[in-house]
Symmetry: C2
Subunit: 290 residues, 2 copies
């Protein structure tokens, strides 16, 4: 199956999964805000879970729970990242951010509960009958998203915005490995973990993919337009913030992203032709318009 | 061992446990803020884990991990609850709140990472060698703290403050069962879960204890002083908010708390004299000065 078909199907399955999951939850604004924050998005992280699981012949229903978990954690990070005290964004995925549509308190609580939902999904027996696998997914998800992973990256990013001197290439590479790379890696490795197989090849793939993804984001922040992105663009340059584009220049940034995609594809050699959709995914990441 | 000695020892062990746990973490403000938020407090939830585990002859090191987990989740909820967009408190445990000592963004991220730490602690093999137990603790912790548990209670509490009519007794009892009761119940039941024993008696104890705790909080909000409480008092009455005291009157609220303590103690009959410290804990909850 071609990557774009797979991504579309994954997005449909994940959206339907969340609708089923939240059915019957309390009819209160914080739950409505959670459902809203879980709508839309590319679902690239969830797709990586599902496709990695397919490579290991994992039951798709189990893969779906893990895919929903990483999308819930990703959604929590966006809701909190958009808050006035963080990035202060009004627009996300082409719609008002949660704190604009409801209020800040609801956004804080909805983000909190989305993180909790992520851990609930991977620790539920519906995710995998073997508790060792569930506990492994939970522990690795916690390590990837906490203050030695994603939250550390967000904190370093904030500190960099307030610092006098912009970051250098090594520092920004490290920052992005935490901020976006850790969750992308968890997503790519989850399929192997669900099959109790070696996650190393998918991990190497994801490390290169995650960095390529961030470089592509920086390029889009310069070249993209608001309509295609569904969020504000040009913010990094306006803030004088160091990005891969500001440090490398546009051409060298593109060249680095291309090289990372090749590196990501090479890491999948062990899977042969079956991994073609994941190779297409890597190419998509640097050619996307949003 | 008398309850107050046990509580003191639990607090020492939990504090030392967090110092060990965070040793070597990144030297950044968000991690400093996490450590700060984890300091102090009564550690009642952590004590309930440790004492419930002792009743079931669970290895104290394992109980300590689960005790730290519930204290991390409790600390996260306080850091976010204190934010300007939530309760807007400047003082917590007699010291500046995290967003006052650092800033709002650091408080949001530190709270986020404290929640993650809670799930990391219960899913780590150091908590229990049997993954079924770890996955069970994780799943029940997620259910107790998410949008069908603690976060739901926080959201309902916020909605009540903005509503025209104050809540009635049934609604406030339900709200508090979610807001504070769910985590207290998880704490009390964790010892039984660590021993793969029936958590029902400790659960019944905790339900009565949690409600008594909240009624005592409402009484302290009327009668307490800032120095003993380490936080602002009289805020509920100032806001015209319904509390157990405003709904029942001071005497009837005291009577209800007394009855709940008796109910909590009776639920421990199956444990005989060994549960005396937990009975003392229930009495402490309604006699405390902070």
């Amino acid at each position: 199956m071609h990557f774009e078909t797979g991504l579309h199907q994954a997005a449909q399955a994940i959206g339907a999964g969340f609708a089923r999951e939240l059915d019957g939850w309390p009819d209160v604004p914080v739950v409505h805000a959670m459902a809203y924050a879980l709508e839309g998005g590319k679902r690239l992280r969830g797709y990586l879970v599902i496709e990695g699981a397919r490579l290991h012949d994992v039951d798709p229903d189990r893969a779906l729970r893990a895919a929903m978990a990483i999308e819930a954690v990703h959604a929590y990070s966006l809701v909190h990242d958009d808050l006035p005290c963080m990035d202060d964004d009004d627009l996300r995925r082409g719609r008002p951010t949660v704190h604009r549509k409801w209020d800040e308190a609801t956004a804080v609580l909805a983000g909190d509960a989305l993180q909790t939902l992520g851990f609930e999904l991977v620790s539920d027996p519906a995710c995998h009958p073997d508790a060792d696998v569930r506990a492994d997914l939970t522990l690795t998800l916690a390590r990837a998203s906490g203050a030695r992973g994603m939250v550390l990256g967000q904190a370093l990013d904030m500190a960099a915005e307030r610092a006098d001197a912009p970051l250098d290439l090594a520092a920004i590479t490290r920052l992005q490995a935490d901020k976006t790379g850790a969750l992308i890696r968890w997503a790519a490795e989850a399929g192997a973990r669900l099959a109790c197989a070696d996650p190393a090849p998918l991990g190497t793939y994801a490390q290169a993919l995650g960095l390529a993804f961030q470089i592509a984001d920086d390029i889009l922040d310069v070249e993209g337009d608001v309509d295609a992105m569904g969020k504000a663009v040009g913010k990094d340059a306006d803030r004088g913030k160091a990005t891969f584009v500001s440090l490398l220049g546009l051409d060298a940034a593109r060249g680095r992203a291309d090289a990372l995609v090749t590196e990501a594809c090479d890491a999948l050699a062990v899977y042969g032709a079956r991994a073609e959709p994941l190779r297409q995914a890597a190419r998509f990441v640097i050619s996307r318009r949003n």
